[in-house]
């Protein structure tokens, strides 16, 4: 990323007259005031969706996977599409908190906390699917874990699904720890601002006795850097490993060496789109436009268009290699994507992920919420379809034409998809209500630096 931060980022990350005190007041206001009617309305809707998720999941477990549209040959469909989609969403959080941190991109502070929370919740959503998609989740939840048992048999560590178990659980755990570490000082602030003893107690316990001591800061900053350093290869590895689910198989359309970078780029792409989608609402809802500024949005949009070009390149190179490689099965698989029965999904993908984001080349579009919002929404749609295209169209027609089949999702499939958004958004709403959505402490650093450098405000 070659954004010149010294000239661009620092001065323009705040709007209006911001002091350390006012910063705290703004950020902690949602925690300290009674939720607005809009918040209640929102959580009622998302809570209902989350309940749909729970019901559909229970129904699936009781009746069997047959209540979905999956079949042979399309043995994976919405389940794994949703899994990859949510894992991908999570990646933007880690990218913002870790990679942009390592690159000293200061503007990340405005959105990092929110994006990290998104990571954690997206991973929670994602984790539902690999477990739920197994035929016997009540056994899968144990047998995928190498624990001492009476059978004397253990997982097969050669399986990409087993790699997933390690990768996704590590990712979830590390993301949560990283997020929590970042939250510590802010929780301490929340504790010290709290008036009600119960709030004070809860935030007090959660902040683990943080005192802002510089002896602690010294280790803390090192730890944060190390977390960032670990998370960076971790986030790359996680989506690479998720892509291995497909890349190490033999199925034409899956067996592709470009998958790891392509998946990572796609994950960042979709993740940033999701961050933008949600943070625009969040900053409006909690009146934080002066902290999450249009400059932030513009920078995100720049990353979106960069990653859009990457996935566009991947789509093109896939087609090229399919032609150039000369393997007839593979050639057919890609032609079938673009022209077969699921061509509509392919072209939705191309339109939403490659064509529409090109509008972001215009500065006006990048900086106008009303113009960019439809674009980021479409990117979310497009990236869901990208996984659908990869999984369903590759499976439904592979080597032997005799085994080719069709795929039709059922209501339960849609229930789980919509329901997973319910779970995710409910968690996000709770997060916005109970935890500081903006990394106040980090913002204070930037604010104080900009003030001490004599840099004014816009």
């Amino acid at each position: 990323m070659s954004v010149d931060t010294s000239s661009l980022a620092a001065p323009s990350l705040f709007v209006g007259d911001v002091t350390l005190r006012k910063l705290d007041d703004d950020i902690y206001r949602p925690l300290e005031s009674f939720p607005t009617i809009r918040w209640w309305l929102a959580i009622a809707i998302t809570g209902t969706l989350a309940a749909i998720f729970v019901l559909c999941a229970a129904y699936t477990v009781v009746r069997g996977i047959g209540v979905w549209g999956n079949n042979v040959p399309v043995a994976w469909a919405f389940d794994i599409v949703n899994f990859v989609f949510w894992i991908g969403i999570g990646h933007a959080g880690t990218l913002i908190s870790a990679i942009l941190f390592l690159f000293r991109q200061r503007w990340r502070t405005g959105i990092a906390r929110f994006a990290e929370a998104m990571t954690v919740f997206a991973v929670i959503c994602a984790l539902q699917f690999p477990l739920l998609h197994t035929g016997r989740p009540w056994l899968a939840m144990f047998w995928l874990v190498p624990y001492p048992n009476g059978q004397g048999i253990y997982p097969n560590f050669r399986s990409p699904l087993e790699w997933d178990v390690f990768a996704v659980s590590t990712y979830g755990l590390v993301s949560a720890m990283f997020w929590f570490t970042g939250l510590l000082p802010d929780l301490a602030t929340a504790r010290d601002r709290a008036v009600h003893p119960f709030r004070k107690l809860v935030y007090g316990i959660l902040s683990l006795g943080w005192k802002g001591s510089n002896r602690a800061w010294s280790h803390y900053e090192k730890a944060y850097l190390l977390f960032a350093g670990l998370s960076t290869p971790l986030v790359l590895s996680v989506h690479s490993i998720v892509s291995f689910d497909f890349a190490v198989s033999v199925i034409p359309g899956w067996h592709t060496t470009i998958f790891p970078p392509y998946f990572v780029a796609g994950a960042v792409f979709s993740g940033f789109a999701m961050v933008a989608t949600l943070i625009i609402i969040m900053r409006k809802m909690f009146r934080l436009q002066h902290l999450v500024t249009d400059n932030h949005l513009e920078l995100m949009n720049k990353i979106i268009i960069a990653t859009s070009l990457m996935v566009g390149y991947a789509y093109a190179i896939e087609l090229f290699i399919a032609w150039y490689g000369g393997v007839s099965y593979e050639r057919y698989a890609f032609l079938n994507r673009a022209l077969g029965p699921f061509a509509w999904a392919y072209w939705i993908m191309v339109t939403c992920n490659v064509l529409v984001p090109q509008l972001l080349w215009f500065k006006k579009v990048r900086r106008t919420v009303l113009l960019m919002y439809p674009i980021v929404l479409l990117v979310n749609v497009g990236m869901w379809f990208e996984r659908f295209v990869i999984i369903v169209t590759s499976l439904h027609r592979d080597f032997l034409p005799s085994s080719w089949g069709d795929y039709k999702p059922t209501l339960i499939d849609f229930g789980l998809l919509v329901g997973s958004f319910g779970v995710f958004l409910t968690l996000m709403l709770l997060f916005c209500r109970f935890l500081p959505t903006i990394a106040a402490t980090e913002l204070k650093v930037i604010l104080s630096e900009s003030q001490s450098q004599g840099g004014g405000h816009e």
Binding site: H133, R136, V250, I251, P401, W404, D406
Partner: protein, 998 residues
């Protein structure tokens, strides 16, 4: 089954004692109280929660189970050990010899009797499925009169009283009565003098039989010797599918097509020409196919006669009219002429008499009689009566109507049979189900299943086959012959010899005693011994001298063949369904879910038409059309079938059943037999005047395969005989296999066993027997029409069918596809829980109880042969105390959420190994047979130890025709396919567009 097990076949006499000791004769307590609980015997896999390693399933111990001791069991019947009995399959149109495997007193698997001269150890799908019908919970469980249960005594009294007082009675039976049954019918008719016996079948070869009788002046039928023929011409005869002794036909046909690599330069196999209207199994195996309407068959036969005799004008005219390539017709004529004495023409049983006369002449001038045709004087079935005659009798008034194991209310080709029946005072229906007929009868009497019955059969001279029961009747049922004997005894005069017979078994036995006593003499003990020997062997099989071929009355034949040709806009041909036949097996789920060998449709019937005919009707696949013949009509969906002749509609019988079980209620389809029996038909199953109108509705047809193009992929390889003679390894030139690159050194499989399979595509005709055999052996569930529609059928072996070449008259490629047991199996490396692994003997093993159901293995299987239990498919069946008896105790019944696939019948492998070990010997080649291999009528499947250089499998694998599917992916499959050799007429080599790959 090993050789040794055949020797252990037990006769029913000992079985009789066993039953009294161990088997209560009726009802729920059927399972012998033995060492095991029933659950134990059946081996189920439900939640597998008890296996949860830390025992998280609960605090208490596992559910307490009991061992029920026997009081005093027969020594030879060890609980859990299989016993084998011989018998005869009497349910279908043709009787075949059976070996029935029973475990703990319950029959669980049917095999062919290897000693039976007709089927020689092979089986058909319907035979395999018979065991499922035995445990069908929808079977009638006791006699009922007017809807309420009554006792057999009351039944007998009512029937015999009614018969005594009857001034007119009708006995309606099926055609394949055994000789003893026929004798009993004669006896019955003699004591019930106002009774007339009629035979009813929808599917029969009446015209052929009538024609042969007239032109040869003798009763008899052709026995085609496909193995001796060099050139075979089939005129609408599906002899590999439904016409005649199919199992024998397939065997003989494939014998005549076998090639030997060592002598590939001199290889010579028969050439099959098929002229047909519908697309049949036979047609799909043709070297050259002529699409021709059934109503034009006679013209083809007659003009062939003339052309062979020198005048090809009419043949050319026919060719021009029906769009058949003149070159093909010329080549056919040349081929036939050149191969006099080695040529053979067969004609379909649904063609009119005149056609058979024409074919007889053709065969005669080709010198087929005595060479490629034998004459059989002992007919396997009775002559079917003219429905109009029966209707007339009913219309004159009938007091008593008795219908034994036949369902005329469903399939009567003529007037509404139910209303005819309603005129009779007493109507007695005998059958296994409360079907359409029994529901319309005043007395509904339950019949025994074939496996509960005594019977005999004599399909041809020298073949006397015995059917013995292998289980006491499950329900309060009785064999129709038993009923008939009871009624005969009741009607017979005091002192009549018939009254001395205790029961039907006694009657049958004494008749056999008489027969063998007169033949061989000897005392009572020897008679008994001979009877027991015959039971053990499955019958008396003697080589008899071939009957001399009678002289053809050519003038009469020509006269007959000149009969007026009637033809309308469309030909409608009524074919028996490949699995449920005429509807008698409609309540059998294995058969309903068996894909049609040609269209792959399941659970349904349709109106098949060619692409051009569909276009003419402006209909597309799935459009429902009203098919109107005379004043009756049915509505069926259109199925566009490549290979059909234009102007032909092919309808399959056997669907649209309305009563008699839950399974047939699941099936879709319509009853087409109601269109029959009107003036528009030129033969009993051939109609030429028909109207088709689109109803505007449409319906989806459920097919297990939807893509029939091979997309130029080297999947099924074949070549012509010319190519083969040139180079036995012609397959190698048809694809490109790059040198495999691998990171890992391969495992050494050279020690011990290495199991492998070879499938000779030259032999496979695509008959589906293997599919059902596998289903029976491996407890494979049926999933129903809806689940099939979403692609969840469970067959471990399927027969892939590809069409290449001409879209209207394609070349058909069949390929049985099953788990390839790859050495580098892609499914194994992706399973996260080690549920699918490799054995040191080269088996790809699937451990159901370890499987958590990620389905990743299925995704990564290039052959897509893995099957997933998406829903609780087997649970209802497991809970039913009758249905659960069908399960093979040697194979786990899979629960929901578990992947499954072909195991190479690992239970048989283990048993074979144990057996050899106990004897201290190596496993003999051929001692271990997979279920599919054992059933295969074409002997196309070979299984064995690849490491044994003398084994048949090693020879097959070494064949130059052998190739592996997707070999280029270096998955190292263990199922070798031997490329099909097609015997194309060299004169037509350029005419026929053969697809080349790679």
């Amino acid at each position: 089954m090993t050789q040794d097990n055949v020797a252990r076949v037990h006769s029913h006499e000992t079985m009789h004692r066993l039953k009294s000791a161990a088997l209560p004769s009726h009802g729920e307590n059927l399972t012998s109280p033995d060492e095991m609980t029933r659950r134990d015997a059946i081996r189920i896999l439900m939640g597998a929660s008890s296996a949860l390693a830390l025992g998280l399933s609960g605090c208490e111990r596992k559910p307490k189970r009991e061992i029920v001791s026997r009081v005093a069991g027969p020594e030879y019947q060890m609980p859990g050990k299989a016993l084998y009995y011989s018998s005869t399959w009497m349910e279908g149109p043709y009787p075949y010899g059976l070996i029935i495997k029973t475990v703990d007193g319950r029959p669980i698997k049917i095999e062919g009797n290897p000693d039976h001269p007709i089927n020689r150890g092979t089986t058909s799908a319907a035979m395999q499925a018979s065991v499922l019908s035995l445990y069908d919970p929808d079977r009638l469980r006791g006699p009922s009169g007017g809807g309420s249960p009554i006792g057999w005594e009351a039944v007998d009294q009512r029937v015999s009283e009614a018969l005594r007082g009857a001034s007119s009675a009708v006995l309606l039976t099926r055609a394949n009565l055994g000789p003893t049954e026929r004798e009993l019918v004669r006896k019955f008719l003699s004591v019930a003098p106002h009774t007339r016996h009629f035979v009813h079948e929808v599917v029969h070869d009446g015209p052929r039989r009538a024609a042969l009788g007239k032109i040869y002046g003798a009763v008899g039928e052709f026995l085609p010797r496909f193995d001796r023929a060099r050139v075979i011409l089939s005129l609408d005869s599906d002899f590999l599918g439904t016409d005649g002794a199919v199992l024998e036909n397939i065997r003989l046909f494939t014998e005549g097509r076998r090639v030997n690599d060592a002598e590939h330069r001199r290889a010579d196999i028969s050439r099959l020409y098929v002229a047909e209207g519908a697309m049949t199994v036979t047609g799909s195996n043709a070297d050259h196919r002529i699409r021709l309407r059934p109503s034009a068959m006679r013209r083809l036969a007659s003009s062939l006669v003339r052309a062979i005799e020198g005048d090809a004008a009419e043949l050319n005219a026919l060719g021009a009219e029906s769009g058949v390539s003149p070159a093909l017709l010329t080549a056919l004529v040349d081929d036939l002429r050149r191969n006099r004495g080695g040529a053979l023409v067969v004609a379909g049983p649904h063609l009119p008499e005149a056609d058979h006369a024409a074919v007889a002449i053709l065969n005669d001038i080709l010198r087929a009689p005595g060479n490629t045709l034998e004459w059989n004087t002992v007919l396997p079935s009775l002559k079917v009566d003219d429905p109009a005659e029966v209707e007339a009798v009913f219309e004159r008034g009938v007091d008593v109507a008795i219908m034994l194991d036949t369902n005329p209310v469903y399939d009567w080709p003529g007037k509404d049979f139910a209303s005819l029946l309603s005129r009779a005072r007493l109507t007695v229906g005998h059958g296994q189900y409360l079907d359409e007929t029994l529901a319309a009868c005043s007395l509904a009497l339950p019949s025994n299943h074939n496996l509960e019955s005594w019977n005999d059969a004599e399909p041809r001279a020298g073949v006397m086959s015995i059917c013995q029961p292998v289980i006491a009747p499950l329900f309060n049922t009785r064999q129709p012959a038993e009923s008939l004997l009871t009624w005969t005894k009741a009607l017979a005069a005091e002192g009549d010899a018939i009254r001395s017979f205790e029961d039907w078994h006694d009657y049958l036995r004494s008749r056999w005693g008489e027969g063998s006593a007169t033949a061989a003499g000897g005392g009572e003990n020897e008679t008994k011994q001979r009877w027991e020997d015959a039971l053990r062997a499955g019958g008396l099989f003697q080589a008899v001298r071939e009957a001399p071929f009678p002289e053809l009355n050519r003038a009469a034949a020509e006269d007959m063949a000149r009969a007026e040709l009637r033809s309308g806009g469309l030909d409608v041909v009524f074919l028996p369904h490949h699995a449920v036949y005429d509807g008698r097996f409609a309540n059998n789920g294995w058969l309903q879910e068996l894909p049609d060998p040609i269209s792959k449709v399941v659970w349904d019937n349709a109106a098949s038409v060619s692409l051009q005919t569909a276009q003419r009707l402006k209909a597309v696949e799935g459009d429902r059309v009203e098919i109107k013949v005379g004043d009756r009509s049915v509505v069926l969906p259109i199925l566009v079938q490549p290979g059909m002749a234009d102007g032909v509609v092919a309808l399959t019988l056997g669907h649209g059943r309305t009563a008699g079980g839950k399974i047939l209620g699941e099936a879709a389809g319509a009853n087409v037999s109601r269109l029959l029996g009107q003036t528009a038909q030129i033969a009993p199953r051939l109609v030429t005047e028909v109207q088709l109108t689109r109803t505007g509705e449409s319906q989806s047809l459920v097919r297990t395969q939807t893509e029939f193009s091979m997309h130029d992929r080297p999947i099924v390889l074949d070549g012509t005989l010319a190519e083969y003679r040139e180079d036995a390894g012609f397959v190698q030139g048809k694809r490109h296999i790059p040198e495999p690159v691998t990171m890992f050194p391969p495992y050494d499989y050279s020690k011990g066993h290495k199991w492998g399979m070879a499938i000779d595509l030259s032999s496979c005709v695509g008959c589906n027997a293997c599919v059902t055999a596998c289903q029976a052996e491996n407890n494979i569930p049926i999933v129903g029409r809806e689940q099939c529609a979403v692609g969840r059928e469970m067959h471990w072996i399927r027969i892939d069918r590809y069409l290449t070449g001409d879209a209207e008259n394609p070349t058909v490629h069949q390929q049985p596809m099953l788990c390839q047991h790859c050495d580098n199996a892609p499914c194994e490396s992706v399973c996260p829980v080690n549920a699918t692994t490799h054995s040191p003997e080269g088996l790809n093993e699937m451990v159901y109880n370890r499987c958590v159901g990620t389905r990743y293995c299925s995704n990564n299987c290039p052959y897509k042969v893995r099957r997933f239990n998406f829903l609780r498919y087997q649970e209802a069946q497991l809970r039913d105390p009758v249905q659960e008896l069908v399960f093979n105790p040697q194979v786990t019944v899979r629960g929901v959420g578990v992947m499954e696939k072909c195991t190479f019948c690992v239970q048989r492998i283990n048993e074979g190994k144990y057996h050899a070990k106990d004897k201290g010997k190596a496993v003999e080649d051929g001692a271990i047979q997979t279920a599919c291999q054992q059933a295969c009528p074409a002997q196309a499947i070979t299984f064995g130890d690849v490491n044994d250089p003398n084994s048949r499998i090693a020879r097959m694998n070494a064949s130059k025709r052998a190739f592996f599917v997707l070999e280029e992916y270096n998955v190292k499959p263990n199922v070798a396919y031997l490329a099909r050799v097609r015997n194309l007429n060299p004169a037509l080599a350029g005419d026929k567009k053969e697809s080349h790959h790679g």
